[in-house]
Amino acid sequence: MSVMETVGQATINGLAYLGDLTILTGRSLHAIFVAPFQGQRLRTQRAVHQAMAVGVGAVPILSLISFFIGTIMALQSAYELRKLGAMFLVARAVAISVTRELAPLITAIVVIGRSGSAFAAEIGSMKVNEEIDALETMALDPIEFLVAPKLLAMAVMLPCLTIWADFMGVLGGATFGVSAASFTFGSYIQATLSSLARHDIVTGLIKAVMFGVVITAVGCQEGLSTGLGAEQVGRSTTSAVVKSIFLVVAVDLVFTMLFYFTTPR
């Protein structure tokens, strides 16, 4: 097979995969927003259960990572700002980078590791054990029953986790600011608040919702396309993590460009 054929085939496969993700997401969104008005059940209890697993379970590790990232950002920016005698800008640098970019991205990566992989493994195991077939023979649509509650939980919990990561990141920056940059805690928080516009937080939260959708779609799609055997479940899980990270970064790029070119200067 020539290089052109290989590239062409890979492009077709990639587009087909994106098509599958779009169909899965579309059917899940239909189950969440349209089907309840057509007399079908929205499985809120399953969604709440998922939200607890996805959201509450991620808080400790996300808190720690966001705190460290905030501190690292403060250290890195102080490294250059110190040369310019502009240490008072540390709070601003941390606030903007954390709320716009780092908090949504780090949250997404933590959630991919904890929940995206778990979705693929859970649904993949169900596929191998014929539980997906059992759902179908019970006249239950696996997408409505399994995927839609996960999507709802992720779309709600990712922004909540991102807000928490914003807070912990700023707290991490404040730790450095108070201990090494002549801020008081109050003045650091004041500097943070005065440097943030609503737009900074909102763009981060919009990204978080999109990341939640992407992570759910990839995790569930990988699970549903699992082949036969336990080995395939492992492959699906690995594939879900790798593809989710790639697609989250790609979606991040698209939305960052969109916000850059559409924001009035």
């Binding site: 054990n129 539980e131 077939d133 019970m138 006249a139 649509d141």
Partner: protein, 278 residues
């Protein structure tokens, strides 16, 4: 193709048949697994699908449940053509199915009671206490009274199969499908599963389709049996007719005779080197 079959015989389902299969072909990718299979199952009848490993019997069962699409031919369940049913009608039809999968296919994230209750919670508006009573009733029927709060992982193989039967019975199905109900079970537990199927057959008069390769079990529970070999329907009939059938593959299967070993050196060499680029 549908019109041609409709012309060939009376309308499917009109003769009281629960299942009509005509010239069914099923493919996995490029490979054809089932070749032109045709048979009928009468309402209230118990039919066993026999065949060796890899013969295509489980694929046939999956096609009957609408889990595999037909590459050709047609399947009618209660006169409804599976290939052309829109999803809502397919869902309504499947509410009349009860399925016991080979490994049970119980949901690991739910207790046994929640597994059995699931179809009732999803498809009825019964209150919790009524559902709980019905769950206990179904578990009682399969001899698993008191196991509502167990996880499927805590059950033995035979108990899992019985729990799966309880779940399959929850909606009082008209057609019950069993995939290898006795596979992997010791003779005593397997006999228990056979007894359970016989009890269901007598008590509820439901149509039962059982895929198995256990001969003793098949002869015990079947009104009719069919033998599938390499994706083809070799023979179908009442147990006595099948016992008297002189088709070489039927005789080989029932007399438990292994395939003859290749004695000619050239044939053996051919088998070893087939598909190799030498």
């Amino acid at each position: 193709m549908k019109t041609r079959h409709a012309d060939e015989a009376q309308k499917p389902g009109s003769d009281g048949a629960a299942i009509n299969v005509r010239n069914l072909r099923v493919n996995y990718g490029e490979r054809e697994i089932l070749h032109n299979i045709s048979f009928d199952v009468k309402a209230g009848e118990t039919i066993t699908i026999l065949g060796g490993s890899g013969s295509g019997k489980t694929t046939l069962l999956r096609a009957l449940m609408g889990l595999e699409k037909a590459a050709g031919g047609a399947i009618w369940i209660h006169g409804k053509d599976l290939c052309c049913l829109p999803p809502p009608e397919m869902a309504e039809l499947r509410k009349k199915f009860g399925v016991s999968f080979q490994g049970g296919a119980l949901f690991g994230s739910m207790t046994v009671g929640e597994n059995v209750a699931l179809p009732l919670r999803e498809h009825t508006k019964l209150d919790d206490s009524t559902i709980e009573v019905l769950v206990r009733l179904k578990l009682e029927e399969v001899g698993l009274s008191g196991y509502e709060n167990y996880n499927p992982a805590q059950l033995s193989g035979g108990m899992k199969k019985r729990a799966a039967v309880a779940r399959a019975l929850t909606m009082d199905p008209e057609i019950l499908f069993f995939d290898e109900p006795s596979a992997g079970l010791d003779p005593i537990i397997a006999a228990g599963i056979d007894d359970l199927i016989l009890k269901l057959k007598r008590a509820f008069k439901m149509t039962i389709v059982v895929v198995t390769h256990e001969l003793a079990s098949a002869f015990l529970i079947a009104d009719r049996m069919m033998l599938i070999d390499k994706g083809e329907l070799i023979a179908i009939g009442a147990p006595e007719e099948m016992k008297a059938n002189q088709h070489p593959r039927v005789r080989q299967f029932f007399d438990r005779v292994p395939d003859p070993e290749i004695s000619v050196d050239d044939d053996f060499l051919d088998r070893l080197t087939r598909n190799l680029r030498l």
